[in-house]
Symmetry: C2
Subunit: 453 residues, 2 copies
């Protein structure tokens, strides 16, 4: 395929065609695009233009495009439609999971109106059921559309019933086998179905080895299971073991990516899921609090240094290396926490105990610290006259690096233990704490060294 790339020229052209109402040319222009591409175009249009564009699509395609829109754009866009229009044009054409997600973004009363106005009462009750689940659980990720067959049927009945159900389901990923009570018994592969005669019983050919999850399982854990076991689709059961829905990998890809993005943003000192196109107040709200925390840490740091003002007046050269000590502590601390946070996120940390990890990190800190403080000692002995300063700086650097390595390992593990997001440890918090403690160590050692030399 030629991958679609939205250019300024393309967008201008679409806007012109919309303004001049050249519907034929518009249809031709959009014909080659997939819903996800059209959504990219609409994300850049104003609401009137967007309405114009959607109106020339089939309702099925319009619904798909709506699903792919940026959340902000979608909320804006849907404000210009009545509940009846939203129900008929969009929700009616969506799978239950997407419908529930989109409805959840709307105001309470509008949401209820739309659900009441849905023609397909089964879809309405399915959507209501899905909306009752927390969005960060398996129930919140699943869709109701699936194909299931009874364990007592033969292949002929099976295929007949599957044909009926298939009309409602857009993709057939798996055929589930249930008993008379609706409890999940296993899975029937389409491949097997191709290979046997029509009189064969389902019981004889189904596979009872199927991985499933309960509706209450956390989305993050669902993502871990689908990734670990390479699953494309995962059946969801209620507390009684009844099959109530299925989760597809595309929804979970988003969960996996969002999780990684969240950790990344926390490390960079950004507290909400923003991107650079978001509004100014939103960007400030996500960034300023972290800066104020760092500022507060810096003020405490300045007070610690001020305690040692007499020392600085006698040995102003001590001031030269303060930023170096602070920065190195911060860098080592972030390295150590990042390894732990990533290990926790990827589930690669389980086996070895906390003492072992701290011990290893201590060793890494010691070796890195020796290397760095060795280089620094060499530099200072060559270019600086003061023996006291040279030893102060290198011993302090070694101490700060070792401290930061252990502190950086310890903090995320403790946060995880108390069910706080360990990624918090990697942000400005750890650099700021390391700055303060690092400076304190530096001046303590300075006092000691200048006493000796």
């Amino acid at each position: 395929m030629q991958q679609f790339k939205l250019t300024k020229e393309y967008l201008e052209n679409i806007k012109l065609l919309l303004a001049s109402q050249k519907t034929d040319l518009l249809i031709a222009a959009l014909d080659e695009l997939y819903p996800a591409d059209i959504a990219e175009v609409i994300d850049e249009l104003d609401t009137d233009e967007a309405k114009g564009l959607i109106s020339i699509l089939s309702t099925e395609e319009g619904a798909e495009v709506l699903r792919e829109l940026d959340e902000d754009t979608r909320i804006q866009f849907l404000q210009s439609f009545s509940p009846k229009e939203i129900a008929d044009n969009f929700i009616d054409n969506l799978d239950t999971d997407d419908a529930a997600d989109i409805l959840a973004e709307l105001p309470e009363d509008k949401k209820n109106d739309i659900i009441h106005l849905l023609k397909d009462k089964e879809q309405a009750s399915d959507i209501k059921e899905l909306m009752a689940y927390d969005e960060d659980t398996a129930g919140g990720l699943m869709a109701k559309e699936l194909i299931k067959v009874n364990i007592n049927w033969n292949v002929l009945t099976c295929i007949r019933e599957m044909k009926k159900q298939a009309e409602e389901v857009s993709h057939v990923y798996s055929v589930y086998v249930v008993d008379d009570e609706g409890k999940l018994k296993g899975i029937l592969s389409l491949k097997k179905l191709l290979l046997v005669t029509t009189s064969t019983k389902v019981e004889e050919i189904y596979n009872d080895d199927v991985i499933s999850v309960r509706a209450k399982m956390a989305a993050e854990e669902v993502g871990g299971i689908m990734k670990k076991y390479d699953l494309v689709v995962l059946p969801v059961l209620n507390d009684d073991g009844k099959l109530i829905g299925r989760i597809t990998i595309d929804d979970v890809v988003d969960v996996i990516r969002e999780e990684a993005d969240k950790d990344y943003q926390l490390m960079s000192g950004i507290s909400e899921n923003i991107d650079s196109s978001d509004s100014l107040p939103l960007i400030l709200r996500a960034r300023l609090p972290w800066l104020l925390i760092a500022l507060f840490g810096g003020i405490i740091g300045s007070q610690i240094i001020s305690i040692y003002e007499p020392q600085i007046m006698v040995h102003p050269e001590m001031a030269f290396f303060m930023p170096l000590i602070a920065a190195m502590g911060g860098n080592v601390g972030v390295q150590s926490s990042a390894l732990i946070v990533q290990g926790l996120a990827n589930n690669t940390l389980q086996m070895s105990g906390i003492v072992w990890k701290l011990g290893k990190e201590l060793l890494v800190g010691l070796l890195n610290g020796l290397a760095c403080s060795g280089v620094l000692l060499g530099y200072n002995l060559i270019f600086n006259d003061s023996l006291a300063l040279s030893f102060t700086v290198s011993i302090a650097l070694l101490s700060v690096i070792i401290f930061a390595a252990i502190f950086g390992t310890f903090v995320p593990l403790v946060l995880e233990k108390y069910k706080i997001d360990p990624a918090l440890a990697t942000g400005p918090f750890i650099t700021t704490s390391n700055d303060i403690i690092g400076l304190f160590i530096y001046f303590m050692i300075g006092r000691l060294m200048y006493g000796i030399f």
Copy 2:
């Protein structure tokens, strides 16, 4: 399902059973586990134990387990087998894509021996074909196993041929429609196949709207396409448009996650894909270079400060706020770069130009800078006597924050332009540069202010 969690007790138990050769009990213990779970167990065993455990599994299951092992464990493990054993017991039972990936980890001569020893000559040539592709391209991700039907067949022929092909293919995701030359024409949904009579022609029911990629496309781009268009499987074409393989989403989930991990590690100052269980030399190699860069930056910083030694001797209080200025510059710089890096990774940055982005970041910097320097000015006016110091610190902070915001935005965009990984900008590099320039700005402003007040 009960999700499997590997505990120390469980592992000890397995080791005991292995040592006492209680095969029956071992088989019973492993019966409930999936290959990915057994791989987790083996990752914690030594090579002899691992061989013992694998030997009680069927060869199909053993091959699956091998595929799921940690790369380091797998390389170690395979060293204890002859090429013939590896060919018969493992490679023969794997899909071509997994076989090619595993063989790529082995030494050149052993790899070639194994391929020659494969009984299935078609598999051998498929594997050789796959190994010719760069692992970071669509060709490197794809497998040869797929089901294809000729556009001129009818449904009956189709199903007969599919039955034959299905024996070779473990999961049937899609049925591809090709012409007599093997060029991809479209896709045949299993659902459609269920709904029509056996005399219907493929031509009448296939869907010609299928997204495909060329074998040379970068893995990252393949991931973007599968994510954007919610694809579970993606056909791969050669330069002539012939269907040569397919990529499934499970392989791409790993690509998506690894990419995010790489950006995360670069930001935290870790240059290789390591986790805390890796060997000490590997961890040091990934972490020490960044620390040495930061150290080098710190030394330059110390030299800049030393230029201002006379100033510090007269006004030692200026030293108090050096770490604060440096840290704030670093924090703002990382925030700004992280937003750009993430925007580039998620493809949400295309539309607006570089000037616009720098302008917006300038505004964000100005507002954050005014807030932070305002708070700091208030603090200093209340708790510090020196007007000169108070204004120096706040004006310097404002300047440094604005500078860091612009610098942090600019650097990753420039790196991206010159095809260097923009995530490099978020690591110690940006904090170190900001430290140096921040200190320089600070003392310049200090000289000015102490001249005025």
